[in-house]
C-alpha cells in the first residue's frame, strides 16, 4: 500500500521512527518507580502464606518499633472508612484488606508505611499475624460439588461457589445438528492459568494534598479515567471528589491487561496518603506481582464439533468451567462475563453454535483476562483452531485444505455469525494461501513424510484465526456502566503545530507516533510536529484506556474524526482567505487549493496562523476539535500462522524450526510498529504454549510464583519470527484500520499445539494440553512406544 503523504509528513503507511524513543534510549523514561516526591513514604505489604484462613490476630507492636516505620494499616483501620471492601470491575466485591479471613495465598493482610523501602521491608517482616487455616478449595469442579465449602461467606445468601452462568447461541438447534452429523469430534482442553509478567511490576505514588483537598495518583494504569471515576465512587464518602482526583499514567513498562485492575495496593496507598498527609509510594516485587495480581485463562473447556463426512463443519458446542479465583475481578465489559468467547465460531460459517461458561470461585487470586487476550479471545481461538485440526486429522483431510474448504468467503462479508457478531471484513483464504506459499507448505509435507519413514518427528501446525477487537459500541459495551467510546482532543497552534490528547494510554504500543501519523494523514501536518499526550486525567479527554487492542479502532478513529472536523473549519478559513466558496476548494494533505487554479492555495500552517490572527467573521477563533467516538461495530483482524516443529525423541523437547505469521489488521498506520507488535505477540503466544503455567497444590500453595519457575522465554528460546501481511480494510472504521496488538498472542498458541500434535498423530496422539513441556511429550512417546535414547 503506497502512502498518500510524503515521508516528511509521514501519514499512514510510513515506517516512521518512533517519537517516544529519544527518552527511553537515554534512560530518561519516567516510570512510576522513578518518581520521588518530597516527604514521600514507602508502603510494604504483609501477605498471607495460607490460601484460606481466619485471621485470629494481627500484632503490630514490633513492626511499629522498627526504625523508620510510621504506621501499620490493617483491615480494621480501613473498615473505619468503609474502605476494606471495594467493588470489582465486574460488579463483584473484593477485599482491600481483610477483617475476617484471607482467601488466597499472598493476599494482602496488612500494610506497613515507612520512610524508605528497606525500613518498610523490615516492618513487614515484623508484623505478626496469627492464622487459623480453613479448608482450601482449588479445584473448580470440586468447588461446584454439593457440600463443597462455600467460600464467599461475606455474601449473605450465597450457598454455593457459582459466580455466573453465561451462554450464547441456540442450544436446541445445535443439539439437532449434532444428531444429524456424520462426524462428531470431541475434546477436552485445559487452558492453564498464566500471568502477564510485564517487566515493570505494578505500583503507584499516591499524593494527597491536604491544603488543596486534591489527590494525585501516579499509577501504572492502562485506564486512568476509569480509575479516577472508580476512586470517586468508592471513596467519595471519605471526601474524595472526582474534580479533585487526578490520575497520571506516566511511562508504563508493559501492560498487556495486567495494569487494568484496581489492586488493593493502590487503594491502601491512597488511604495512607490521605490519612498521613504525605505522598506514599507502593511498588510491588515480582513475586507479589506473580502471586497476587490478576491472572489470565484458567478455562476448562469441553468442545464438540459436528461435520459432514466431506469435512464441511456444521455445528459447534462448547461448555466451559471458568476458574476466577476468590472474586470475579476480570476486566470484561459488563454484559460479557465470559468476554468475547462467543467468537469461538472463528473463521468458519457454522450454521449453529452454542457456548456456555460457568464461572466458579476458588481459593486463588482473582482475575481472568490479564494477558493480551482481547477478552477471552485467546481461549476461543485456541478451542476452535484445535478442534478444526483434530477434525482434519480424524477424517484424513489436510488441515490447510479443510480450512480453505470451510472458510467464510470474502463475498459473505459483512458476515453475521451464529453467535451474533457481524464480522466487518475478511479474506481468510488469501491469508492462508499466502502463508502456505511463504513457508512452502507442500515442500514441508513432503519432508515430513520422508522424515516419518526414518522415525523422525516433525510437525506442521496452522492457525487461521479471526480476532474481535475495538470494544465497543455503546449499545453493548460498558465497564461499570461507563460506555466504551474513546476520545480525541486536537488543537492546532498558530505556528501550525498540533497538540493532541487521547483517552487511551500506550504502554509501549507507540501511540505518540502512530496517533501523530493519523493526524498527519488527515491534516498534512508533519507527524513530527504533532505532540501526542495520554494518561493525565486532568488534561486528557475521557476514555476507557488501552487494552484488548481497542486503541486504534476507537481512539484512532476519534483522532481521524477530530482531524476531519478541524479540516472542515480549516476549509472555511481557507475559503475566506482565498475569497472563494468552500465548494471551489480542493484538498490534498497539507493544503487547500482553488479548483483549476492550484497556485492559489493555503497551507494548513497558514490556515492555522489565520485562525488566531485573521479568522472569518461569524466563526470562532482557534482551530481545534474534540471527538468522542462511539464505534458502530467491533473490528475483526485476522490471520493465518504456520508453525514447523521438530521433536527430540529422547527428551521430548519441542523446537520451533520456523514460524510464519500472516496478519491482516486492515489499513496499516506504521508497518514497523505493526511488525513489532506481532513479534511481541508471537512470543507471548509461544510462552503459554511451551513454557508458562501457574498452578496450585491442594493446599492452595502457588507453583510458579517467581521467575525461577514461571518461565519467560529468553532470546534463546524465541525463534526468529517471520511476518508478512494482507490488507483487508475495515469498511466502518474511518481509516479502515482494525488494531493488531493482540492478534499474535491469540493466533500463535494453537499453531504451535497443532504442530506438535501433527508430529505425533500417526503414533495415536490427538491432543496435548499446553504448556507442552518436554515431559508431556516424552510421556506420550513412551505410551505410544516411540521414545528413543
Amino acid at each position: 500500500m503506497n502512502p498518500r503523504t510524503s515521508p516528511e509528513v509521514s501519514g499512514m503507511g510510513h515506517a516512521m521512527k518512533r517519537k517516544e524513543d529519544p527518552r527511553f534510549i537515554r534512560g530518561q523514561g519516567h516510570y512510576v518507580d522513578d518518581i520521588q516526591l518530597p516527604g514521600m513514604l514507602h508502603l510494604g505489604i504483609v501477605r498471607s502464606p495460607f490460601a484460606h484462613a481466619k485471621i485470629k490476630s494481627i500484632k503490630t507492636e514490633k513492626a511499629m518499633k522498627v526504625p523508620g516505620v510510621v504506621a501499620v494499616i490493617t483491615g480494621e483501620t480501613l473498615a473505619q472508612y468503609n474502605l476494606h471492601w471495594m467493588p470489582t470491575l465486574m460488579s463483584d466485591t473484593q477485599m482491600v484488606l481483610p477483617t475476617e479471613k484471607v482467601m488466597y495465598q499472598a493476599q494482602e493482610v496488612a500494610a506497613v508505611v515507612a520512610s524508605d523501602r528497606y525500613a518498610a521491608a523490615d516492618g513487614v517482616d515484623a508484623v505478626e499475624v496469627d492464622y487459623e487455616p480453613l479448608p482450601v478449595v482449588v479445584d473448580p469442579f470440586k468447588a461446584l460439588e454439593p457440600g463443597a465449602p462455600v467460600l464467599r461467606t461475606d455474601k449473605k445468601d450465597k450457598k454455593d461457589n457459582r459466580i455466573f452462568h453465561w451462554e450464547a447461541g441456540d442450544r436446541r438447534a445445535v443439539d439437532q445438528e449434532f444428531k444429524q452429523a456424520d462426524v462428531v469430534v470431541k475434546q477436552d482442553l485445559y487452558i492453564p492459568r498464566i500471568h502477564v509478567a510485564s517487566i515493570e511490576t505494578c505500583g503507584c505514588v499516591a499524593d494527597f494534598d491536604r491544603a488543596m483537598g486534591k489527590l494525585t495518583v501516579y499509577m501504572t494504569t492502562q485506564a486512568p479515567h476509569a480509575i479516577r471515576t472508580v476512586f470517586a465512587l468508592v471513596a467519595g464518602h471519605v471526601g474524595l471528589s472526582e474534580e479533585k482526583i487526578r490520575i497520571v499514567s506516566p511511562d508504563i513498562g508493559g501492560g498487556f491487561g495486567g495494569k487494568v485492575p484496581v489492586y488493593p495496593g493502590y487503594v491502601i496507598a491512597v488511604a495512607a496518603s490521605v490519612v498521613i498527609g504525605r505522598p506514599v509510594k507502593w511498588v510491588e516485587d515480582r513475586s507479589e506481582n506473580l502471586q497476587a495480581d490478576s491472572f489470565a485463562r484458567d478455562y476448562h473447556v469441553s468442545a464438540e464439533l459436528a461435520a459432514k463426512k466431506d469435512g464441511t463443519m456444521t455445528a459447534l458446542r462448547i461448555k466451559t468451567i471458568a476458574d476466577h479465583g476468590y472474586t470475579d475481578a476480570a476486566a470484561n465489559p459488563s454484559k460479557f462475563p465470559a468476554g468475547l468467547f462467543s467468537i469461538c465460531t472463528g473463521s468458519y460459517p457454522f450454521r449453529q453454535a452454542f457456548a456456555e461458561v460457568d464461572g466458579v470461585y476458588t481459593n486463588k487470586p482473582p482475575g481472568g483476562i490479564a494477558y493480551r487476550c482481547s477478552f477471552r479471545v485467546t481461549e476461543a481461538v485456541y478451542t476452535i483452531e484445535r478442534m478444526v485440526d483434530i477434525l482434519a486429522h480424524q477424517i484424513g483431510v489436510d488441515p490447510a485444505q479443510l480450512r480453505l474448504k470451510n472458510f467464510i468467503r470474502p463475498e459473505q462479508f459483512p458476515y453475521k455469525s451464529a453467535l451474533g457478531w457481524e464480522y466487518d471484513s475478511g479474506n481468510y483464504g488469501l491469508a492462508l494461501e499466502k502463508a502456505m506459499a511463504g513457508i512452502d507448505y507442500a515442500g514441508l509435507r513432503k519432508e515430513q513424510a520422508e522424515k516419518r519413514k526414518r522415525g523422525e518427528l516433525m510437525g506442521i501446525g496452522i492457525s487461521s484465526f479471526t480476532e474481535i477487537v475495538g470494544a465497543g459500541p455503546s449499545k453493548q459495551f460498558d465497564i461499570l456502566g461507563i460506555k466504551m467510546f474513546d476520545s480525541c482532543e486536537l488543537r492546532v497552534h498558530p505556528t501550525g503545530k498540533a497538540l493532541v490528547r487521547f483517552g487511551t494510554k500506550s504502554q509501549g504500543q507507540g501511540h505518540e507516533t502512530t496517533f501523530a501519523q493519523i493526524i498527519a494523514e488527515e491534516l498534512g501536518i508533519p507527524a513530527a510536529h504533532v505532540q501526542v499526550e495520554e494518561g493525565d486525567t486532568d488534561t486528557a479527554p475521557y476514555g476507557l484506556g488501552t487494552y484488548a487492542s481497542r486503541s486504534t479502532p476507537t481512539a484512532g478513529a476519534a483522532g481521524a474524526m477530530a482531524a476531519r472536523r478541524v479540516r472542515d473549519k480549516a476549509k472555511k478559513i481557507a475559503a475566506y482567505l482565498l475569497e472563494v466558496g468552500e465548494e471551489d476548494l480542493v484538498w490534498e494533505p497539507g493544503k487547500f487549493s482553488v479548483k483549476g487554479a492550484p497556485q492559489r492555495a493555503k497551507t494548513i500552517q497558514e490556515i492555522a496562523f489565520a485562525a488566531y490572527t485573521n479568522h472569518p467573521p461569524g466563526v470562532e477563533a482557534g482551530l481545534e476539535a474534540i471527538d468522542y467516538y462511539d464505534p458502530p461495530n467491533l473490528t475483526f483482524p485476522f490471520g493465518s500462522y504456520i508453525c514447523v516443529v521438530d521433536i527430540d525423541r529422547g527428551t521430548g523437547e519441542v523446537k520451533i524450526r520456523r514460524f510464519l505469521a500472516i496478519d491482516d489488521c486492515g489499513n496499516v498506520i506504521n508497518p514497523m510498529i505493526v511488525e513489532g507488535q506481532v513479534h511481541g505477540g508471537l512470543t507471548m503466544g509461544m510462552a503459554p504454549a511451551l513454557l508458562e503455567e501457574i498452578s496450585y497444590d491442594e493446599d492452595g500453595n502457588i507453583q510458579g510464583g517467581s521467575f525461577m519457575d514461571y518461565l519467560l522465554p529468553t532470546a534463546m528460546e524465541t525463534p526468529r519470527w517471520e511476518t508478512d501481511r494482507t490488507v483487508t480494510p475495515s469498511p466502518h472504521h474511518p481509516l479502515g484500520a482494525k488494531g493488531v496488538g493482540e492478534s499474535a498472542t491469540v493466533g500463535a498458541p494453537p499453531a504451535i499445539a497443532n504442530a506438535v500434535v501433527d508430529a505425533l498423530w500417526h503414533l495415536g496422539v490427538r491432543h496435548v494440553d499446553i504448556p507442552i513441556t518436554p515431559e508431556k511429550v516424552w510421556k506420550l512417546l513412551r505410551e505410544h512406544g516411540a521414545a528413543a535414547g
Binding site: 529422547g650 513454557l691 518461565l711 519467560l712 534463546m716 515431559e775 535414547g789
Partner: protein, 290 residues
Amino acid sequence: MIPASFDYQAPKTLDEAVALLAQRRNEAKVLSGGQSLLPLLKLRLGQAALLVDIGRIPGLEYVKEEGGFLRIGGRTRESVLERSEIVRSRYPILADTTAVIADPLVRNLATVGGNLAHADPANDHPATMLALGARLLARGPKGEREIAIDDFFKGLFATALEPEEILTEIRIPLPPPKSGGAYLKLERKVGDYATAAAAVQITLGKKGEVMRAGVALTAAGPTPVRAREAERYLEGRMVDAAAASEAARLAAGAARPTADRRGSVEYKREMARVLVARALAKAAQRAEGR
C-alpha cells in the same frame, strides 16, 4: 527483595578473611561472586550476620596448568573460565559446564569456588569435578589442606569445608592423551537449573578402549551423584552404541532425583540416562580427536 541487615567486611588477605570467619563462626558467610548467596539473602531465606567478601584478596583468580594439574583459583569467575583458551582447547567438559551456568550476566560475577562450596545439587560444576577427579584446596586457621572431590559433598548445601575455611583452588589432573569429556544439560530454558545433566570424562587406550571413566550426574540427589557402576562397566570396553546404552542405564540407576516442576522422578531418571549416553558419545568423539 530487600535483605535483612548484616555487617560486611572486605579483608585484603586470606589470613584476615579466615580469622574473621573463625571469629564469627556460624554467623559469618563467605561472599564470593554472590550470585547464589545474595539471592537467598534478598528473599530472606538465608541468614548471615556478617558477610566476608573475598573479592578484594589478590591472587585468587587464575586458570593455569602447573605441576601436573589445571589449577583454577577459587574466585575465578565463570566468564573467565569460559573465555580461557586452555579450558576451551583442552578441557571441553569444563567449557561445556561453565557455558550453561545461569546466564552470561550472572557468569560475569559467579565463581567456580562459589558454585562448588554452595553445594546446591543442581549446581553444574560439582558433577563435572567429580567426573574429572578434581582435588580442592581449602585454607583455614590451621593452614591449607587438600580435599578429594569424592570427599567434598556431604549433603544438601553441605560440604567438607569448615565454617572458617575458604576454597582457594580447584586442581584437575592433566588429562592423558586421548582424553575427552562432555557435559550435557537439559534445562527448561536458559538460566534454569538442570532438569537433568550428565558429566562424562574418559581416557582411551591405544586400541580405543576406555582406560578411565568419570561419570557423574547433576540434580540427581541431595549431592552430585558419581555413577561408579557405570564407570566400572566402561573400563576396558570400546565405546560403541551398546556399551553407551548400558553405561547410561547403570548411571541412571544411581540417580535419586526429586520430583518438582522440572519433572517427575521417572522423567528425570530417564533424562539422566539419555544425557549420559549422549555425553559419552561426545566424550568419545573428543577423545578420538574428532
